[in-house]
Assembly symmetry: C2
Homo-oligomer: 269 residues x 2
C-alpha cells in the first residue's frame, strides 16, 4: 500500500494549490501586519484561504462545471489526473482549509480560531461562494440575461466573499474593528471581477493562463456586456479609488494594500 | 433571480441529507447525554456530522467515483439533478458541517468549538475519510488484492474516522476523557464495515436501498473475501462484544450505545 504522500490525491492537492497570484494570502498577511499579528500565526489563515481558493478552482474546472483544460498556464487537475482524483483533491483541500484555521498554531485564543472558522464557513458556503456559483449556473439557462444588480450579487458571492474574508482576517485575529477592511474588500472584490471580465475580452490565453473569450462565446451577461468596455474600466477605477479611501484609518501603513487594489485592475493574468 | 431556497443546489442539499439511519447523529447525541451535555448544544455536532456524511455520499455516488444511481432507496443526487448540482451540493454540505460546529449555538466555550472543528477536519481530510477513499481507488488498479491489514487501514479512514468523531463528540463537548468512547467507536466502525460487506453479499437491493453485489462483481477484496462469510460474521460479533466492553466506565447508562453496536451487525439496510 502506497505511503500517503505518494497517493495521487495528495499529489493533486499539491499541484492544484501551487502557483497563482496568491492575492488572498497577501490580503491576509497584510491585514495581519496592520494589526501587529505575528506572521507565524497569520500564515495559517493565509494557507487556509489559498486551500479554499484552490478547492473552488479544481471543482469549477471539472467537465460537469466550466469544463476548463487550462489553469494557471498548466493542465487542470482533472486533465492531469482524472475527474475522480480532482473531486477528491478539491474535497480534501476544503477540509484542509478548515484544519488550518482551527489548529492551535493559528492562534492562541480559541475564540479567534472559532471566529475564523465560522466566518470562513459562511463565506464559502451556500450563502457565499457556493451561492454565487449556483446563481452563475442558474443564469446559463435563465430566459433573460442578468441585470447589473443581479450580476453584482452573484459576484459578491462567487469571488467577493472569500476576498472579504481574507482582507478582514487580520482584524479578526487582533479582535479589532473589521469595518474599514471589509469596505476595502467589497470594492476590491468587485473591481477584481470587472477586471476578470475585461481580461476575458482583451487578454490572450498564454498570458492569462486560462481560456479567454468564453463569456462572449456563451452569450453571458458580464460587467463588460452591461457597462461596455470603457464603462467597465471606469467603474473598476472608481471602485479602486473607493477601496483605497476605505483604508484611511490605517494611513500610509496600508500602502501595499492600496497597491494591491491598483494591481487588481492593471494585471494581465 | 431565484431566492436562495429555490436554487437547485439548496434543494439538492436538503434532498441528500434526508433519510438514512442517522447512526452518526445518534452517536453524537448519546455520547453527549452520557456527559450531561444539553441536547440543544449536541444537536449542532449531530447536524454537522450528518451534513459531512451526506456530502461524502453525494460525491462517492458521482459517475466518476462509484457511479451509483440509488441511495437510501431513492435516485442519487446527480441522477435527480445533474453532476454539477451534485458536486456543488456536496461541497456546500461539507462547508455547512464546519459552520455547525463553529457557530456559537454549538457551545459556549470557543475552545470546544475549535476542538470540534479541528478534530472534524482531521477525521474528514486526507489523513482520514479522503485517505480511505483514495486508498480504495488505488486498490482498484493495484496488482495484488488488499491484505486484511490494508483493508482495515482503508476502512479506518473511509468510515471509521467520522464514526469515531461522532462517538467522542459528547466527551469533547464536556472536556472529558474520550478514550472509552474512542475504543468503542474503533470497534463499532470496523464491525459496521464488515456488516456492510456482508450486506453486499446477502442483502437485496430493495431492503438495502442501494446497489448490492458490486464488490464481488468488481473482484474487490472485502472482509468477506478475506475471512469468508462465517469468519466475517464471527469477527463482527467479537468486535461488537469488545465495543460494548469498552463502555464499562459508563455502566448501564451506556445501554443504548451497546444496543446501537448490536444493531450495526443485525441491520438489513
Amino acid at each position: 500500500m502506497a505511503p500517503m504522500g505518494d497517493l495521487p490525491v495528495v499529489q493533486a492537492m499539491r499541484y492544484a494549490s501551487a502557483g497563482g497570484k496568491r492575492l488572498r494570502a497577501f490580503l491576509v498577511l497584510e491585514s495581519a501586519r496592520l494589526h501587529d499579528v505575528a506572521p507565524q500565526n497569520a500564515i495559517w489563515p493565509a494557507a487556509a484561504i489559498e486551500a479554499m481558493h484552490a478547492y473552488s478552482l479544481v471543482h469549477d474546472d471539472l467537465p460537469c462545471m466550466d469544463d476548463d483544460d487550462l489553469r494557471r498556464g498548466l493542465p487542470t487537475t482533472h486533465v492531469k489526473w482524472d475527474e475522480c482524483t480532482a473531486v477528491l483533491a478539491g474535497d480534501a483541500l476544503q477540509t484542509l482549509g478548515f484544519e488550518c484555521v482551527s489548529c492551535e498554531a493559528c492562534h492562541d485564543d480559541p475564540l479567534v480560531r472559532a471566529e475564523l472558522t465560522l466566518t470562513l464557513a459562511r463565506a464559502a458556503g451556500a450563502r457565499g461562494m457556493v451561492l454565487g456559483q449556483a446563481l452563475d449556473i442558474a443564469a446559463e439557462t435563465a430566459e433573460a440575461p442578468l441585470t447589473l444588480e443581479e450580476i453584482t450579487r452573484l459576484q459578491a458571492g462567487k469571488t467577493g466573499a472569500l476576498i472579504a474574508w481574507s482582507a478582514t482576517a487580520g482584524a479578526v485575529m487582533a479582535r479589532a474593528d473589521t469595518a474599514p477592511l471589509y469596505r476595502y474588500a467589497q470594492d476590491l472584490g468587485l473591481a477584481f471581477q470587472i477586471a476578470d471580465d475585461i481580461l476575458d475580452i482583451e487578454g490572450d490565453v498564454a498570458t492569462v493562463g486560462k481560456a479567454v473569450g468564453k463569456d462572449v462565446q456563451a452569450g453571458k451577461a458580464t460587467f463588460v456586456s452591461l457597462l461596455g468596455l470603457e464603462g467597465a474600466k471606469s467603474r473598476a477605477r472608481a471602485l479602486v479609488d473607493d477601496a483605497c479611501d476605505a483604508l484611511a484609518p490605517y494611513g500610509s501603513e496600508a500602502e501595499s494594500l492600496r497597491e494591491a487594489a491598483r494591481f487588481v485592475i492593471a494585471r494581465n493574468s
